[in-house]
């Protein structure tokens, strides 16, 4: 694995191993918070923060943590950073924190993060871990942003709360409802598979 460049570790999270569209991990927040683009973006930022900080710490302490308690240790580390992110959002961006509701604390159980700690950070150097985490986080955020943007445009005719489709547009209510999340995600996963097969 050592002959892979740092850029590859960053890039793979965005396309070839995108956590949402290829690995299909952490779909609960993907489906739930993508009712608008700003929610998707905030969620993505919180995940990037938690993912890079916790994989960073895991990568530093990987040699001293006994194999038997590694998952418990990782979970404590992840939970710490998630709580920090939650408190920060509540203090600085109360409105966004309100909109995301319980999904910020729920990042604790997001399997992308534990997955990256276990599968990558505990086996690779600090620099590569950071690149991998950033790539995965950006890939997650982009997928959320596209899905959130699509649902917001079709479901309410707006993007980032700015009306773009005009008054005559009749919103497709289904796109804001949970069914819209599944339809949108399905289309995106299909499209992604098509792109990758063509390569």
């Amino acid at each position: 694995m050592d002959d892979r460049s740092g850029f590859f570790e960053f890039k793979k999270g965005i396309i070839s191993q995108n956590p949402v569209l290829i690995l299909l991990l952490g779909l609960c927040p993907v489906l739930a918070v993508t009712t608008s683009a700003i929610n998707a973006l905030t969620m993505g930022a919180a995940v990037i923060f938690v993912l890079s900080s916790s994989t960073f710490v895991v990568s530093i302490i990987k040699r001293v943590v006994p194999y038997q308690v590694r998952i418990a240790t990782f979970t404590i580390i992840i939970a710490t950073f998630v709580t920090i992110a939650d408190l920060f959002l509540k203090a600085q961006f109360p409105d966004l924190s309100k909109a995301l509701g319980p999904y910020v604390p729920l990042i604790v159980v997001n399997c992308i993060i534990l997955g990256r700690c276990e599968a990558f950070a505990s086996k690779n150097s600090i620099l590569k871990t950071l690149l991998d985490a950033l790539g995965m986080g950006v890939g997650f955020t982009l997928a959320l942003l596209v899905l959130g943007g699509m649902r917001e445009i079709l479901g309410s005719g707006k993007i980032f709360n700015i009306s773009i489709l005009g008054q005559s547009y009749e919103p497709m209510l289904v796109m804001i409802l949970p069914a819209g999340a599944f339809i949108g995600l399905g289309l995106m996963v299909g499209l992604m598979n098509m792109i990758i097969k063509k390569r």
Partner: protein, 186 residues
Amino acid sequence: MKVLYKMSLTLGLVATFSGFTLASIYQKTELKIRENKEREFESSVSNLVSGVVRNSEREIEGYSVFYLYDKDSHLLSYAVIAGGNGYQGEIKILVILSKDLKSIKGIDILESVETPGLGGKITSKDFKNQFKNLEVSSGVDYIKGRELSNPNQIQAITGATISSLAVVKIINLALDEIIPGIKKDG
């Protein structure tokens, strides 16, 4: 045996470190979070009642009731904070009652963790505005899909009946206790 010690030591150290980190972050953010909540309360009140200069808080039947006064110390209306269970967690509602206790001047949702995009709409203007000037002598009622026919009715949100119902229920429960309480209090 050595592994056991090492395991306990690692977990203990990580947990202690995490505890200290969170305690210090909490201390730094706590004030800001409380300020945000207070500011939110004040701006919610002033959005619904104009000219409030001061308020005095009283406990009535376990609820926090704020008596709102204008600059000449005339009583303007009452603000009540009512809480209860929603679809997935607690909902805290600010209810402004008219001076004669016969109608609601307006409501605001202070805290809620309803599903974003569905039950989350209880925080939308369209939903909250329905409570303006609602009669409360026989309790608030909710209907679905039909035309409103009584002055104490609101329209439930499509796709979020449980959340809409929860708001109505919380308000009714609180008002049942508070209105007699305020009357007794004088």
